[in-house]
Amino acid sequence: MARVNPLDREKYEQAKQRANRKSSGWSMSRMIRLHRIAGLILVVQLLIWTVTGFYFSFMGREALNAQQNYHAAPDRVLAIQGRYIVPLRQLSQLGDVYEINVRMRDELPQFAVVYDSAHRPRHEVGRSRGDGLQQAWFDAETGQRWNTGAVLAQRLAVDSYLGSGMFNRITDVRRSHDLPRWPGPGFRIDFADRLQTRVYIDQVNGDVVAHRNKHSGLTELMYKLHFMDYSGQRNFNNVFIIAAGLFSLWFVLTGIIMIIRIGRQGGFVARAGLQYNASLFKRLRTRLFGASHKN
């Protein structure tokens, strides 16, 4: 733009308006500047994704789930010998019952009930399943709600454990930092082994919730950082990661646009006539022919 005499008021105002108009629109220089700023912000998360991704890949599924000492105990055959009570009254209060599964928990028969309580929300409260239905568990010997005791929890934990460590201690827990997604309550059973294995048993149904060990804290931290879900729920549809994903996509696309631009300006072609190579050929001439050929 040509220089404007600031004393010429009319032309000065016109030039100012033109300049304002130009700056309000999209320009390559603005995009490059934004791309650089985006790079500065994203590099931290990119490093986190890289390090945590490498950690997951290096550890493998078994170690990530702390299943080095895990043994899936085979289901016991049905062996109802003593009392067997079907809790008809309680079952009828659940709502629409779709399935009642009879199975053994250690040596005790158990009813696992799948139901829809949508029409009777005030009655029994069970655990929600992923498909919108709920689950409840009953003791088939007493007809009462299932309640895992400490002795049974210890036996179930030992059945699921393959390691060489001895049983160390059992603690009843309301919830656990080890398992942020588990609603609890239940038992934590510790084993004295090299990995400091601990097994969680659900009090509501007697299921083995998970094994955890001394690496689990670091693994949880890695998941939090990788999924950007700092609550530990491992929800990868949260707003932070969606924003970071879109931002990264924009960063990559603008990077490609910039590479194309550099290519068109001759950044990847060694030809003296192209604008991008002017300084390069100038330096080359200086080295080859000396200072006298500079001009």
Binding site: L47, L78, V86, D96, V97, E99, N101, V102, N237
Partner: protein, 212 residues
């Protein structure tokens, strides 16, 4: 991958409960007899399933190796026909009107299972509907249980997952040499980029301030 919600990918919205709610729960009293008749049974689940033109009470029996249905009254084994599976698939489809079934096949061998479903589920009935999402249900061949559901969004997600973990064959191994190589390379690029940036902006400023 992060924009598509995980419950949507799992396709729970595609299916609904095909069984009827139970009203004759006293049939559970048959379980001690069932365990005598089928001593290898590890589980017996009472359900009311559409079989042979009507909703019938059956026990879904599991053993260590097999699963099958038995009549809840006389404890005789019940087998499902192709027609039963078609009816169960229609009842399972969540939207209405239910579209036509585009393809239905019984897959007996684990080696012939499509990649989109776990081979351990074999034998299965594969039922594909003629809708825009190409909804596909997989039912256990002996019991008619819905094992899993697939749709186009799941298939796109699966391709994205394959690219993400760089396992181009099985799509479930997270420890592939490709992934190791690219992770190390990305880390190197990010670190050197950061170093160049620091050198260009921070170190220069720092040196200049010392000279001044």
């Amino acid at each position: 991958m992060v924009i598509l919600q995980l419950p949507y990918i799992h396709g729970h919205h595609l299916s609904q409960q095909a069984d009827q709610p139970l009203s004759q729960m006293e049939l559970l009293e048959q379980v001690p007899k069932l365990q005598t008749r089928y001593p290898e049974a590890t589980q017996a689940a009472l359900v009311r399933r559409f079989i042979d033109g009507d909703f019938r009470y059956v026990f879904r029996v599991r053993t260590q190796d097999t699963r099958f249905l038995v009549n809840a009254f006389d404890l005789e084994i019940v087998s499902l026909s192709a027609d039963d599976v078609r009816h169960i698939a229609d009842l399972t489809y969540a939207d209405s009107p239910v579209p036509k079934i585009h393809a239905k096949e019984l897959i007996l061998d684990a080696a012939e299972m499509p990649q989109e479903v776990n081979p351990a589920h074999a034998p299965v009935w594969r039922v594909e509907f003629a809708d825009a999402r190409k909804t596909t249900f997989y039912f256990a061949a002996e019991t008619g249980d819905l094992l899993t559901q697939r749709h186009q969004a799941w298939r796109v997600f699966d391709v994205m997952w394959m690219l993400h973990i760089m396992d181009y064959t099985d799509r479930h191994r997270i420890s592939t040499p490709w992934l190791y190589a690219f992770t190390v390379l990305t880390f190197f690029i990010a670190i050197t980029g950061l170093w160049l940036l620091l050198q260009r902006h921070v170190l220069k400023l720092w040196r200049r301030s010392w000279r001044a």
